[in-house]
């Protein structure tokens, strides 16, 4: 009777140790990832602009972020005289905290820090806290530009979280799970190429999610909260030194997290040819390689967009979320339901079995029909939304204006 508490203590210590190691890895990995991303982005954009980019500190300028980290850390910490000191101080903490929390459930390849059963929901619940941090920064700075930036940021985040989550629903329908672990494992079929992006519904979901993610990560063309040509630096205006760096850390870690999420949800995470064949250790390493390649490719796409297009205006941004993205993602949820019905329903709908045969992963007739049907629905939806949005107010009849169809 005396031995069991000892075992419990051992297990407890083990749990704590493992957790500490995981937390350290996440924090260090996230920060290093952010440092790498800043360097990567600057070099990539520099090549687009016929420049060299940072190439002096360390090999190929890789240590440039380190020198900048030292610079920001040694800077004087300034709080404006009339600022709300507590809120001003807490804003970057809230921002970074929200981002780091999201990393708790994001898989790195096929390795998972913690396999939460409602992982997807958790990520978007905690990243929603960004909004609070943004508003705190805008309010606490006691600066008009900061307040404008904070308000813009909140409006943008709140608007884009809806298409972001709605774009996600098809994946949850397809996988039948909210756990990122399950979602990734289920994309391992077909020699590691069972990625959800390879279906019309998954592709639509991916594209809409990517656009909404650009807005969530405050990337061009949706970098309105910190539009430097209009409102100086938005809610960052009154921040300097380490606090500013923390905002940037949080921003880039959010982008990293979004790339990881997109790679996991749509591009099969660490799945790829050979991962299952190579066994746990080698396959795990290979899955990490695949995963990072996918995530970096997505980030490169973001950089490419940043280097090219101008910024949307704030009302156009809202219009785009509500009038364009939202209808499309809603229709996509519908067509995903049809996809699931056509590919999976056996006894529930005898008529499908009669027409296309039993549901099975090698019943290509069912998949073909599903692809055609969902593709038609989605294309029609995109076409209709574009038609409606293209129309000028003068083209509309009075009933249509009353229905709020004015573009």
């Amino acid at each position: 009777m005396t031995y069991w508490p000892v075992i419990a203590v051992d297990a407890w210590i083990g749990l704590v140790l493992v957790s500490i190691i995981k937390v350290t890895l996440i924090l260090v990995g996230g920060s290093l990832g952010m440092m790498f991303l800043t360097w990567y982005e600057r070099r990539a954009i520099a090549y687009m602009q016929d420049r060299r980019g940072p190439n002096r500190v360390g090999p190929q300028g890789l240590l440039q972020p380190v020198s900048e980290a030292i610079k920001t850390m040694t800077k004087e910490d300034i709080t404006p005289l009339d600022a709300d000191r507590v809120v001003h101080f807490l804003a970057p903490v809230v921002m970074l905290g929200a981002t780091v929390l999201a990393f708790a459930v994001i898989p790195w390849g096929n390795l998972f820090p913690s396999s939460l059963r409602v992982g997807v929901l958790f990520i978007f619940a905690v990243t929603g806290l960004h909004t609070v941090g943004m508003l705190m920064a805008g309010w606490g700075s006691n600066n008009k530009f900061a307040l404008l930036g904070g308000m813009r940021g909140v409006a943008q985040m709140v608007s884009y979280e809806i298409p972001l989550l709605m774009a996600l629903l098809p994946i949850i329908l397809l996988s039948g799970s909210l756990s990122l672990t399950d979602i990734v494992t289920r994309q391992g079929d077909w020699y590691g190429f069972g990625w959800y992006v390879f279906s019309p519904v998954g592709l639509t979901a991916f594209i809409t999610f990517f656009i909404a993610a650009l807005a969530e990560g405050e990337r061009t063309p949706f970098d309105i909260p910190e539009a430097d040509s209009e409102i100086v630096a938005g809610y960052l205006t009154e921040y300097g030194g380490m606090k500013f760096a923390v905002f940037y850390l949080s921003n880039y870690m959010t982008n990293l997290a979004l790339c990881f999420i997109m790679a996991s949800l749509f591009l099969g995470g660490g799945n790829g040819p050979g991962v299952t064949a190579l066994g746990t250790v080698l396959g795990g390493l290979l899955s990490l390689v695949y995963f990072f390649i996918k995530a970096l490719a997505l980030f490169f796409l973001m950089v490419l967009i940043r280097g090219t297009v101008p910024r949307l205006r704030v009302d156009q941004l809202m219009g785009f979320a509500w009038k364009f993205l939202l209808p499309i993602v809603l229709v996509n949820v519908f067509s995903t339901a049809i996809w699931v019905a056509i590919t999976r329903w056996g006894p529930q709908a005898q008529i499908f079995t009669d027409w296309f045969g039993e549901p099975a992963s090698d019943n290509y007739l069912r998949y073909g029909v599903a692809i055609v049907v969902t593709l038609i629905i989605n294309l029609l939806a995109v076409y209709a939304v574009m038609r409606i949005n293209r129309r000028q107010p003068s083209d509309l009849t009075e009933e249509e204006i009353a229905l709020g169809l004015a573009g």
Binding site: I45, M48, Q49, D50, R51, K144, F145, L148, T220, P221, D223, I224, A227, D228, S229, E230, I231, V232, R306, G307, T308, V309, P310, R311, L312, R313, V314, D315, Q316
Partner: protein, 370 residues
């Protein structure tokens, strides 16, 4: 009743996108602009008063500092005013050299102005740096002929300071081989871009009548659909010998001004081609050797000379009392006059548009505050 509160925001003088120390006192209702009051004078340096104290030649380098993007054009305009006042003949070759410099200036000005405009819209520097890349090559040429990259101080009364040589001509030709590629590349990058269209079309509309009543000039006026260009309206130098078109817009919005500038670069390229072709036959040297540059004393009288600067009609008004310095010296600065239409162009648009509209006017504060 619900009501909204108006917020007064100072955009500038220290603001990333006011193109210098310019301040806009804007009243916004949410994001919509209710009122705009331009405030300037932060860069006043007594330019016109200095022009009345300096000798005529001493004032030449001061004109560089007006529109520091286009010092070649400023020099040309000022030299023309003095030449008109003193009745100085300018050799043909010098005229050609001045035209070449003016058109190179126009290309470099528009390349950077379009880059800055897109930068104001939020395009992350790519278009700007492509423009600056071309500008850099032109500045190198300016440095070769005049010794300075931006403050060229190149014109003299009756010609230009130094003659251009075969090396310069070959370098210009080399530059011009690359330019069409830049124009195409730039157009492919953004001209048809959806986001640019929604940001620029129908924004900052300046109707034709309003533009004329404000007496705005340059791409701003041509964007509003008035085909007015000093090079055609009152051909100076040798501009009557070239075949070129004046691009005009239809609506007068930011997009029209954007397109007008893109097309003007192509037209400048045409002029350059013709000028380089015709120049070997031009008579005379690079300067009229009879003019006493240092101790020029024009007879009593007045003169007004204007040129088409890339920003609009640049004019110099001079009154001579027969002494070695002007009695009255006045600059008609295109940026200053174009800026006066800003408030009317901005009202009712969003605060983000204000910055874009300001960028589309293409002002230089050195010229606004003299």
């Amino acid at each position: 009743m619900l009501k909204t509160e108006e917020l007064q925001v100072n955009i500038g003088p220290q603001h990333p996108s006011t193109h210098g120390v310019f301040r806009m006192l804007v009243t916004v209702d949410g994001e919509t602009l209710v009122d705009l009051k331009p405030v300037f004078g932060y860069l006043h340096r007594n330019h016109e008063q200095l022009g009345e104290v300096n000798s005529y030649l001493q004032n030449m380098p001061f004109t560089d500092r007006l529109d520091y993007f286009n010092s070649m054009v400023n020099n040309h305009a000022y030299a023309r005013a003095v030449e008109q006042l003193a009745g100085i003949e300018v050799p043909e070759r010098a005229q050609y050299i001045r035209v070449i410099m003016d058109e190179l200036s126009r290309i470099l000005n528009h390349a950077s102005a379009l880059g800055f405009l897109l930068g104001d819209m939020g395009a992350w520097q790519t278009s700007l740096l492509w423009g600056l890349r071309e500008r850099e090559k032109i500045l190198d040429l300016f440095e070769y002929v005049s010794g300075a990259r931006m403050m060229c101080n190149y014109s003299r009364f009756g010609g230009v300071a130094r003659d251009i040589d075969d090396y310069f001509i070959s370098e210009v030709k080399k530059l011009m081989q690359g330019l069409p590629r830049y124009f195409d590349e730039f157009e492919r990058l953004l001209v048809e871009n959806e986001i640019l269209l929604v940001r620029a079309k129908g924004v900052g509309v300046l109707p034709k009548e309003l533009a004329l009543s404000y007496s705005v000039t340059g791409p701003l006026l041509r964007g509003s659909g008035v085909p007015y260009d000093v090079r055609k309206a009152e051909p100076y130098a040798v501009y009557d010998r070239f075949d070129f078109d004046i691009p005009v817009g239809t609506v007068g919005d930011v997009y029209d001004r954007f397109l007008v500038r893109v097309e003007e670069m192509r037209q400048s390229y045409r002029i350059l081609e013709q000028a380089l072709q015709q120049m070997p036959e031009a008579e005379g040297g690079h300067i009229n050797p009879k003019v006493k540059q240092q101790s020029l004393k024009p007879p009593v009288g007045e003169s007004y000379a204007r040129v088409e600067s890339p920003k609009g009609e640049l004019g110099f008004y001079l009154v001579s009392d027969g002494s070695g310095s002007a009695y009255r010296y006045k600059v008609r600065a295109p940026s200053f006059i174009n800026l006066s239409a800003l408030a009317d162009m901005c009202k009712g648009y969003k605060i983000a548009d204000v910055v874009v509209i300001l960028g589309s006017i293409d002002i230089v504060m050195g010229e606004v505050d003299r």
